[in-house]
């Protein structure tokens, strides 16, 4: 009898502990779980952990924040988990990389409708294209050198799509070597001369490519993929420094601004593929008041000098912030992508295989 009571007490304490809800705007004494859809130690995991470490001090009541990893489903499991949450107590945040192509083409396994989940905030991760110099002596020689090998990750990966689109717009004849596991794997193949062009995050270029191979003249930067603002206008990226944007590169080489169906597609895709690289959402039925508090605190982290200094150490620059309004519109655009965009993207991914 006494033992049964002990067991009941344990079960009772569990049900009370796990199911409690927060009733005020103050998060004091609460623990917020932040779910990331990548394994521990991955780039996204480390980026989210660094952000979260500063986030808790900007939330009223300084709650404890813990990062939990739920990898799987090609990155979609974390969003499905958020989608399945009901009676959320607003103590669960889902902060992970968003695959725009998965959302646009409704990748198998992704059940969540991101447009119905409140966006807290998102960070943009710019990227760029660079090449080996053994065949491509100068950046401006590119369209004339035939048969270069472009190394990419999976055909639906944003770096593969952006890299191929820009090369296609320029009319470059290249071979697509697809299926590398990550930017560093492509780069290793590039160092060995197995591929010659790569599109990768700007921070990867700054930390890994530039110090060794650019300085020794073995690799040259070509362009960065431009940033498109809320009004659909291309804006300069300070972090890119001396590297030209793709549009500037094209104009310098061809003598006129880029245009045509492929370029229109690039302009449509750019904010979706690059705009919400790391996005934090609440589950679908979350409260409006909490959302405002978290959105406000998210922005304040990105203005926190300590975090910004750490971000510069990690990425080489501060990741541009996308406002919740802009981010929400991007997600709605992705979710409700026009049929011709879906068709194009599906075909383009298929061609990349």
């Amino acid at each position: 009898m006494r033992n049964s009571i002990i067991i009941m007490l344990i079960i009772g304490s569990l049900s009370g502990g796990q199911g409690c809800t927060r009733e005020s705007e103050d998060f004091a004494g609460n623990t917020i779980s932040v779910y990331v859809g990548r394994p521990p130690g991955s780039g996204a995991d480390l980026a989210v952990r660094a952000f979260v470490r500063h986030w808790q001090k900007h939330i009223p009541g300084r709650p404890t924040m813990v990062v939990k990893n739920v990898p799987g489903g090609g990155g979609s499991r974390v969003w499905n988990l958020a989608w399945d949450k009901s009676n959320s107590n607003d103590l669960e945040i889902f902060f992970s990389p968003v695959s725009a192509t998965a959302v646009i083409v409704r990748q198998e396994g992704l059940r969540a409708d991101l447009s119905k989940m409140p966006l807290i905030g998102s960070l943009m991760s710019p990227n760029m294209t660079f090449a080996r110099t053994d065949r491509l002596k100068r950046a401006e020689d590119l369209p004339d050198v035939k048969g270069l090998q472009f190394g990419g990750q999976a055909p639906a990966h944003r770096f593969s799509i952006l890299g191929r689109l820009t090369l296609d717009i320029l009319g470059v004849e290249y071979r697509h070597v697809t299926g590398f596991r990550g930017a560093s794997d492509v780069f290793n193949a590039m160092r060995r001369g197995e591929v010659e062009i790569q599109t990768a995050p700007l921070n990867f270029y700054r930390f890994t490519v530039e110090p060794g191979l650019v300085q020794s003249g073995e690799v040259i930067p070509l362009w960065y993929n431009p940033v498109v603002d809320e009004n659909g206008e291309i804006v300069p990226l300070d972090a890119a420094g001396e590297i030209p944007s793709f549009v500037d590169y094209y104009e310098a080489k061809i003598g006129k601004p880029p245009s045509g169906e492929l370029f229109e597609m690039l302009l449509w895709l750019l904010p979706k593929l690059n705009g919400i690289t790391y996005a934090a959402f609440l589950p679908p039925d979350s409260k409006g008041q909490t959302l405002e508090i978290l959105r406000d605190s998210f922005i304040r982290v990105t203005e926190d000098e300590e975090y910004r200094a750490e971000e510069v150490k990690m990425f080489g620059f501060n990741l541009p912030v996308v406002s919740p309004g802009h981010g929400t519109r991007i997600i709605e655009d992705m979710t409700n992508a026009p049929e011709h965009v879906k068709t194009f993207l599906n075909q383009y991914i298929q061609q990349g295989r």
Partner: protein
């Protein structure tokens, strides 16, 4: 160079660096000992504490942990037959049989000694190799990695025991398992049965924990026996010093394995996961008397343990000096380097040479320190091998299941673990070797990945004969296959791995497994034929084209053996009765029912309730514990999950129906 070495040494011995190193070693020792955790998890947990620290003490903390997890993971490998981490998979092949013979202390003595020697040797070798390491790394391109993967696969012959046909079939099954989920080259999902869990492929850890851990625990529970089949009073040959002496006896094997570990460790994407298998294969191939491997040969512990510790230093240098991480753990160290404002690259070999050497020294001291600490604990740890089954089985089940849960925090991890446990038990009873499955799982993704990229990157097949390293590895493959084929004709010279009872029961189970594999291969073949992209289907079809005839061959052989057994026992009915007794079927099913109960109950009430409840039921009903002892055991299980896995590791537990 000498100045850099001395300056690095001086950095390690400044305060508080040495204290952080000790702390890292201490934490790493415990994290490595828990199956399923390992260095990567430990580094992720410690990384936030290093923000804002100076680089030298910060790296002392991280390196202390990183260097030693592959020493303490030996505890579970030897005592329980469960690999503590990917680095200790091969250690179980001979480590666990030694523990069964009551020689766990001897195995620990040898393992810790070679871990220290391997760690130190690897670090020294790396330091000496700094000037010419980059050309070595970049001499290995996609075709070389492909060939190394294939060379590794030829070790199936070594790991197949007496039946190379079964070994190859199991290896084909392992290769097939690696093709589940998104194909890397095309991004198209394969064989995922419409489930989210299988989209990213099956994680290795639940498979290995289930395949090796559950059958051993089941056997212990069913037979109510301790790990050691020898009584403590009779285990005179198994002392720790004998293990140390074994290392001296096999000093050249220790050095060769350390050499293998160091240089395989530097190859990005290859290192940590297969180095122990390569070293084990080398130990078997280079041994004159192979007959004791798989039954408790100390050389089977020495080789993988020396290699996996020396590979840590091997992976470090390309990480810091060239920004090329050789393993997931090295990738985290690279991030730490960047966060601390240091740039990986040539500066680490010039301006910051002292810091680079301080890391090497940290590996050296961490390895020596942890070996000494673990040796101090060995006497106590070894006694676990003599405890009664029911006092350790529930505890190990908890750690095993939670270790599997770490893989992706999904119920799929537990179902995988259970399914592999049942398969592992059946394989053990049917005389099918289990190590080739793990070897194929480790190598499968590596082989397909490099195969697909090689075929795209290199036009034609000229890479097969124009690249010197590829040609050398091809020769090694041919020689290995020749030696294995020679072994088939002389099966007595091959090591016989752990297998169940011989006789009709074994052949009956073996037929069942052959039928299962054959059916699975045929279904997979039909399914692969429907894949739209040729690249998506290519690798599975190649594997299955070889696998189906192999499984048929084994099936025909087994049916013949089975028919002989059935007629000897006087009919199928009597054979089934005999088999049921031989497999301890009711008790075995009872054990599986407990595991199933944990899983099903978790859906309803979550792990924090389900696991302690089933532990209490097991200890009370099967273990005949008193009520108070059962509840105490259950409470400890609850506290372990709650404190270690949810509070310290922040694992996402299953959102149950009742408690959310």
């Amino acid at each position: 160079m000498i100045d850099g070495m001395l300056a690095g040494l001086a950095l390690v011995f400044t305060w508080p660096t040495i204290a952080y190193l000790l702390l890292g070693v201490f934490i790493g020792m415990w994290i490595g000992a828990v199956p399923g955790l390992g260095g990567v998890v430990g580094l992720v947990l410690l990384l936030p504490f290093t923000y804002g620290m100076d680089p030298v003490p910060a790296f002392a903390l991280l390196m202390g942990l990183y260097a030693v997890t592959s020493s303490s993971d030996t505890i579970a490998a030897i005592l329980l037959g469960i690999p503590g981490s990917v680095a200790s998979q091969a250690t179980i092949l001979d480590g666990y049989p030694l523990a069964k013979k009551g020689q766990a202390a001897r195995a620990f003595g040898a393992a810790y000694t070679v871990s220290a020697v391997g760690g130190v040797f690897g670090a020294v070798l790396m330091a000496a190799s700094l000037p010419f390491i980059l050309p070595v790394i970049f001499a290995f391109g996609l075709p070389e990695f492909l060939m190394l993967g294939l060379l590794g696969l030829t070790m199936v012959g070594v790991l197949s025991g007496g039946s190379i046909g079964k070994g190859l079939t199991v290896a084909a099954f392992g290769l097939l398992l690696t093709t589940i989920g998104y194909a890397e080259a095309t991004g198209v999902p394969r064989f995922h049965l419409g489930t989210e869990y299988l989209l990213d492929g099956i994680p290795l850890v639940p498979i290995v924990l289930g395949l090796f851990g559950i059958p051993e625990l089941l056997e212990m529970a069913v037979k109510d026996t301790s790990i050691s089949r020898v009584r403590l009073s009779d285990a005179r040959d198994g002392d720790m010093l004998r293990g140390v002496r074994d290392v001296v006896t096999h000093r050249w094997l220790t050095l060769r394995s350390s050499l293998i570990g160091t240089y395989v460790g530097i190859l990005p994407g290859l290192g940590g996961s297969i180095v122990d298998w390569i070293a084990y294969g080398h130990a078997v191939q280079s041994a004159r008397d192979k007959s004791k491997f798989g039954k408790g040969d100390i050389r089977g512990v020495i080789a993988p343990e020396a290699a996996n510790n020396s590979s840590r230093a091997g992976a470090l240098i390309p990480t810091v000096a060239f920004g090329i991480p050789g393993s997931p753990g090295a990738a985290i160290l690279l991030s730490a380097l960047v966060i601390m404002g240091l740039q990986p690259g040539p500066d680490m070999l010039s301006v910051n040479l002292d810091l680079t050497f301080s890391m090497i020294w940290e590996i050296v001291f961490a390895n020596i320190l942890v070996a000494a600490l673990l040796m101090l604990l060995t006497r106590r740890i070894s006694k676990i091998a003599f405890l009664p089954a029911h006092s350790i089985v529930p505890g190990v089940v908890v750690v095993l299941l939670m270790g599997a849960w770490v893989a992706s925090s999904s119920m799929g991890d537990w179902w995988t673990c259970l399914a592999m446990g049942v398969l592992g038990y059946a394989m053990k009873q049917g005389g099918w070797p289990r190590p080739p499955l793990v070897l194929a799982l480790v190598l499968g993704t590596l082989i397909e990945y490099n195969f697909q990229l090689t075929m795209q990157s290199y036009e034609g097949l000229s890479w097969l004969y124009q690249r010197p390293i590829v040609v050398c590895i091809e020769i090694a493959i041919v020689v290995t296959i020749f030696l294995a084929a020679r072994g088939i004709t002389r099966p007595k010279s091959l090591p016989v791995s752990d297998s169940g009872d011989a006789g009709p029961a074994m052949s009956l189970m073996s037929v069942g497994l052959a039928v299962m594999f054959l059916a699975l291969f045929m279904w997979a073949y039909m399914d692969a034929r429907t894949f739209e992209d040729p690249e998506t289907a290519r690798f599975p079809l190649i594997v299955l084209t070889a696998a189906i005839p192999l499984a048929m061959f084994v099936f025909v052989q087994d049916v013949r053996a089975c028919r002989r057994g059935v007629s000897a026992l006087g009919g199928l009915g009597r054979t089934l009765k005999f088999a049921s007794k031989s497999w301890d079927l009711p008790a075995s099913l009872n054990f599986v029912a407990y595991l199933l109960a944990i899983i099903l109950l978790t859906y309803v009430v979550g792990q924090l309730v389900a696991v302690p409840v089933v532990v209490a039921a097991y200890t009370r009903r099967w273990g005949k514990f008193s009520w108070s002892a059962s509840i105490a055991y259950a409470t400890i299980s609850f506290l372990v999950i709650w404190i270690l896995y949810t509070r310290i590791m922040n694992l996402h537990l299953y959102p149950s129906l009742l408690f959310g």
